[in-house]
């Protein structure tokens, strides 16, 4: 294969607006053999290039159980994401990866799973959720708790509806601030914990979202009896190479791009720099 830092070309197949500033892209490697061969763990990420603008890391939002295409959900935040927003179906981008450790799906088998997402934190969980739902019999109860600042900032609205309609999945959604027409729960994500039957002894909790939400949620889960190693989250830092060489994403001696981005709370607690 070519060098560690040289991307392969992929084509944008189609795109879906999630919120006013967030869009999901479906991509496929231009090389068919590579597209079919590409395998990953949910929770891993890609380095996506918009040629001329640069490269940035995005989590794989699709499930490895669905081969051939890859999905990423991107919020416009900076140089690369602005340039990406100007592209559309048929345009080409560069991809490197998969990078990082990903969620350990095998270790999750047989456990009850609680997914706790906030805002743009749902995409890394989405790949894991589809992976779990595609092999539903291997797992215990599946609970999805999701919150965003306002109803229009909820991502994957269609899929949340689809998951909620299933008998074997429990979905609860909340928003910080209601908008006209919203009849659901209002409040921060932890308010949803009282609406479901959490089983701290048998559950694994996957928490992704903005840092402030993660810290509230983790404190709440600990208070409800979750062991630190049963709380699993993803960490982010500024990244350049994604392969543990450039040193931008280090926390102490941990490289978030190689040792992470997935860590359980016991590991997170032991980090320092």
């Amino acid at each position: 294969m070519s060098d560690l830092l040289v991307p392969a070309i992929a084509t944008i197949l189609d795109q879906q607006d999630e919120t006013p500033d967030t869009r999901t892209y479906r991509l496929r490697f231009r090389d068919d053999a590579q597209a079919e061969r590409f395998d990953f763990q949910p929770g891993q990420f890609l380095e996506l290039s918009v040629f001329g603008a640069g490269e940035a890391p995005f989590c794989l939002a699709s499930s490895p159980t669905r081969r051939g295409t890859i999905e990423v959900t991107v919020r416009r935040t900076g140089r690369v994401t602005d340039a990406l927003a100007a592209l559309g179906p048929g345009d080409e981008v560069g991809l490197r990866g998969p990078c990082g450790n990903g969620f350990d799906v095998t270790a999750a088998e047989g456990h009850d799973l609680v997914f706790v997402g906030g805002g743009i934190g749902l995409p890394p969980l989405r790949g894991l959720i589809w992976n779990v739902l595609d092999r539903r019999e291997a797992f215990g109860n599946v609970t999805i708790l999701y919150g965003a600042r306002t109803p229009s900032l909820l991502v994957y609205k269609q899929e949340l509806h689809e998951w909620g309609a299933r008998a074997d999945v429990e979905v609860r959604i909340t928003v910080d601030r209601a908008e006209p027409g919203w009849t659901g729960t209002v409040g921060m994500v932890p308010v949803l914990f009282d609406q479901v039957d959490l089983k701290p002894q048998s559950s694994l909790a996957y928490v992704c979202g903005p840092p402030i939400m993660i810290s509230f949620v983790i404190q709440d889960l600990l208070a409800r009896g979750f062991a630190p190693e049963r709380i699993i989250s993803t960490l982010e830092r500024m990244m350049q190479c994604g392969v543990g060489k450039c040193n931008h994403c280090c926390v102490g001696s941990k490289y978030l791009c190689r040792d992470g981005p997935v860590f359980n709370f016991r590991e997170i607690r032991e980090m320092w720099e």
Partner: protein
Amino acid sequence: MEVADCRTIARGDLNAWVTRLLGRAEVIAPVRGQGGDEVFASIAAPEEVLWSFRNPLLPPKHLLLPQTDTLAEFRRVDGHYQVQEPPPPRPKILLNARSCDAVGLAFLAEMHAQDLTDAAVLRRAEALTVVSLACHQPCPLGFCVCCDAGPFLEHDFDLQLTDLGDRFHAEPGTPKGQALLDLAPDLFQVADAAAAEQRFALEQQALASFGKETCHFGAAMRRISTRRVAEDLWEKMSPWCLECGGCNHACPTCYCFSVADRTENGCTTRCRMWDSCQYAEFTLEASGHNPRPKRADRMKRRFYHKVSAQYFQRDGRVGCVGCGRCVQVCMGTTDMPAVVGAIRRGNWVSGRPA
């Protein structure tokens, strides 16, 4: 290295040997640059090579990690991107690298080989033959003896030369180094016992010449690795750092980089470029969040990476070869020996000690 493999070459024959090296590869050596400074540069003739010199201010790390390093070029043809990777590196010989720099290059090659392999860097390392010139005496600011990086080397060189006066002692460390001896069997003689003894005596003399200019890594490492450096020590030191990044750029072992695209005439070139962990934007995220907002945080990071036991375990050595370049370039005196000394003593004395 077996003693039997060692050779000697008369001083008067060095130019003839270098001429043969030039016929085989590009030769980079310390030369007298414009303005009179010693610098590493490609040579065209053997007379340019300096055999006695002050170690150049910039190390030869650019031979493995160019300051701006093209990763690939992307051209759009009929709506489709074509990826063009740079050509493979040409063979190069680095002549008269000091021991510290030879160790620095070996460290960088090792860094890019471990875990995920960075083939571009390793191809360069493979194409490079390092001929080191052992040091008879400590350089004014050097403390290589504290870093297992000199004044003489046991490994990390392809060929090690020692200046014996009227002749040079040459010990091959790898087949690549041996190949340079094989280029000139008529110029090299099997080293006699006198040459071996003289080389050994020079090494002992060099080791004995290191005085107080040492860097007490052990004590600093214990403190850094166990979070026993007082937070306010970094705060006290940080105003002295000017955030120029000079320590990083002049360091033979610093390898942090950033990646950026540049587009010209429809061709996008992607480069990796040296970066500095001391720059405020090194960890700045697109959201505006910066996990190391204070200069003290960044200084702490630099010395954690270089001197902690955690990194020692990972890399097999401290991130320092004792070349003293950071002492030379730092205008704020927050160089390696000064900071390590401050950590060991537990207090910061501003300014260079007399």
